[in-house]
């Protein structure tokens, strides 16, 4: 176990380093339009102002020093937005509750719904129910969140007045919080439910033909126990793996469209703003947070795999 954790930690650090270098090159070195100091100074700045900004923010230094300084600022929490002047980490800290609310609520919704629908599709395989669920899954996967979100806002929010027109309310007002989160949860979940239920359906059908399921039945176990303890336990492995990575991505700002459509001022919304403003430091920090959460949750999933599947050993 210790060897496994050490190896994963080292791999994690290497991956983060590689991601940070690629991101830095993409956002700062290869910045479209060139000079970041000129962009920060604005369209009316003169050469003297641009030069001063360049010196102040270290754009005149060699690239590798700029990289080290930028990363040091991100990790020690002192990075700030050149465009708006805020401390990036504290700003993202303020954005985190909205994103966590979205990720956790939607994550639970899409996981439970996928298990229910995927299992139903598997046991009704080839029947009418399965076909209907297949079509619905395809619709869900093909429905972009900005479209579904806009339709909900227009018809369920504006016309029917059943949901708010967007915005985030702190969980300190639990009822308002819930009311504001229902539509974003649903919108984000639809995308994943379609995909997850198809994966689970296939996985269950595969597992049903396995020898260990036949053995379990031969031992006289009830069908419920066979399903829950043997079939679902194994079939859920790929789902849990996917779920972990997707949740990590949403936490790291991956729900850009959902957060933007519903004006949830979370990390995804902040990412969209940063892209629009060419706010490279904020964007770089968000990418690092996403990478970190994906890598950490990936490692946790590996451990969980071993718990669920006795054949896997962590070495």
């Amino acid at each position: 176990m210790a060897r496994f954790v050490t190896r994963r930690l080292l791999t994690m650090l290497l991956m983060l380093f590689a991601i940070s270098v690629v991101t830095f090159v993409l956002f700062i070195v290869a910045l479209p339009g060139g000079n970041p100091a000129a962009m920060i100074a604005g369209r009316l700045a003169n050469q003297a102002e641009i030069h001063l900004i360049s010196v102040r923010y270290g754009f005149d230094k060699p690239i590798y020093i700029q990289y080290v300084n930028t990363m040091a600022n991100i990790f020690d929490g002192s990075a700030f937005s050149y465009q708006q002047g805020f401390n990036v980490l504290s700003q993202l800290g303020g954005d985190a509750p909205a994103t966590l609310s979205l990720a956790i609520g939607a994550g639970i919704l899409w996981l439970l719904s996928s298990i229910a629908l995927g299992t139903l599709a598997a046991i009704r395989s080839g029947k009418y129910t399965d076909r209907v669920l297949t079509v619905l899954s395809m619709v869900g996967v093909s429905l972009p969140p900005f479209l579904l979100g806009s339709v909900l806002i227009q018809y369920v929010g504006y016309k029917a007045s059943l949901i708010p027109l967007g915005g985030y309310v702190s969980i300190t007002h639990p009822l308002q919080w819930l009311w504001h989160m229902l539509a974003p949860w649903f919108t984000l979940s639809v995308l994943f439910i379609g995909f997850y239920s198809r994966v689970l359906r296939g996985s269950i059908l595969d597992a049903m033909g396995e020898d260990y399921v036949r053995t379990a039945r031969a031992k006289g176990l009830s069908e419920r126990k066979v399903l829950v303890k043997h079939v679902l336990r194994m079939s859920l492995l790929p789902i849990i793996s996917l779920w972990g990575l997707d949740i990590a991505q949403v936490i790291g700002g991956g729900a850009i469209l959902t957060e933007t459509v519903f004006d949830l001022h979370g990390i995804g919304w902040q990412a969209a703003q940063s892209i629009g403003n060419f706010d490279t430091v904020t964007l770089l920090t968000i990418v690092m947070i996403t990478a970190l959460s994906v890598v950490v949750i990936g490692a946790l999933i590996d451990i969980l795999y071993a718990v669920l599947d006795p054949r896997i050993r962590l070495t």
């Binding site: 479209p32 339009g33 060139g34 000079n35 000129a38 962009m39 100074a41 604005g42 369209r43 009316l44 700045a45 003169n46 050469q47 003297a48 102002e49 641009i50 001063l52 900004i53 465009q83 708006q84 002047g85 805020f86 700003q91 303020g94 919704l109 439970l112 298990i115 229910a116 629908l117 299992t119 139903l120 046991i123 009704r124 806009s150 806002i153 227009q154 007045s161 059943l162 949901i163 708010p164 027109l165 967007g166 009822l175 308002q176 819930l178 009311w179 229902l182 049903m208 009830s222 069908e223 419920r224 399903l227 933007t260 459509v261 519903f262 004006d263 001022h265 969209a272 629009g276 060419f278």
Partner: protein
Amino acid sequence: MEEDATVRNHLKRSTWSVLLAVVGVAAIAAAIAANAAAKAKARAAASTITLLSGPGPQSLDPGLDYTTQGSEINWEVYTGLTTYKHANGMASTELQPGLATALPKISANGKTYTVTLRKGLKYSNGAPVKASDFLYTVERSLSIPWGGSATFMTPYVVGAQAYATHKAKTISGIQANNRTGKIVIHLTQAYGPFANVLAFPAFGLVDPKTAPKPFKVQASNPPAGAGPYMVTNISIGKSFNIVPNPNWHGLPGIPKATVPFTEQINANVNANALSVLKNSNQVFDWADTIPPADLAAAKATGHYKLVNLGGSVYYFFLNASRPPFNNELARQAVVAGLNQSGFSRLGSGTLAPGCFFLPPGIPGHGTGPCPIAKNPATGDLALAKKLLKQSGQANTPITVYGEERSPRLQWEQAYVQELQQIGFKHVQLKEVADANYFTTIGESKKVNPQTGFADWNEDFPNPIDFYGVLLNGKAIQATNNENFGQTNDPYLNKQIAKLGVVPTTKLNTVAGQWRALERYVAKHAYAAVFGYQSFPFFTSKNVTVKFTNDIYGWDLLGIQAH
């Protein structure tokens, strides 16, 4: 097969149980939500007016912000030595004394401005306002730096350039006497709109104790200012409150504020428009565009009007330093062919056609028939084709530069089509990300674009704000150039230098000369103007707008809830 059927029956039962549980949870959630909605409606009856804005201000720190979204708030939070009248229409662009007792006294050579600070003024935190705070404020804005510093302040105030480049510890050209309240500003050259420059929120006085050195942007805790309003509870990029300043007791022409506001920054402008339509929130920001789908409903409320603030011009620059537009006939061909009503349609009907460079709200705006196409709304395609043929430039390849956002992209695409229609054989569109569009096309040496989209919104109602920056040969820079057309006409430069020194308050004495210059620029087709923009002023039914401001858009003192 039999075994499978049994398994499936059991599975079916358990699956339906899970499904029922999920549906149950959803039903409970919906019930709770309905309850929450009822309570929310009851709370919405509060008297605070909510203003919804798509993009928020760059910053609420006046030392940094140079955006319309920031200025519309900050001009009433950081009152300058001068400010603008709280009135409707053109009257709202007239200067009036702000923190100073009177408008600046200008020396005969136009190079010395003298004002006296009013007595007994206090910042929003209760600290007294001192004359020396003006110098401190200017130093702070040049240090951060504020986006307009290099255009409006450093070239004109003695010692400002040296201070901005760290060659001097203070700005030698500003002297302030705290005992008498007298402030004297020495300019390097006469600059007509300098009294307007003093009204910029960036030079609205700040309390030094709340903005200590070394100067830095105070995004979440901007310095205390002196004005009818103060900003509190800032959640950067999300929301903030604009509440009456308890230490502002009103000045002549600048009353005490009574109505509190909350600004919410929501990128989804469609949801913002719907929210105002439902009266859930009160004010839709004028700088945002109401989506066409909501326009009819907004108009039907009776609380929507399209206002031409009179201070913005939209145009395609034509680079006179390189082919094909170093040929005057080629430039005239483009201007002749512009179908401006088509451009207006693409912009949800928000553009008014015109051919003169100054927008209608600026003194000196051109009048009379257009020199090239008689009717700019439709253009004259036959004339355009004829002029291009005469120029012999049809085979010159053209790259049109443009921004990505709507409707600008659509305007640029229509422009490309028009160039092709009048006879240019090789035209391509190059889109640049909005965030660095103007700095990209401002690269005179590396890029030096032939033509492309440009716009300008007034900083103050003086023609020099447009001509001095956008058409002045002496303003051409290697980087961050704003004279995208590289216009460098000796006659034009001479007239700009001559007319630019006339103070804004005396513009009526030279309005005729500006109008003549307008005709000159239109005749030589130095820019292809395609309209002056109007903006949507839209509120809910429980709000009355008594007056707006033609420079900053909203005047919070003119908005009331009922």
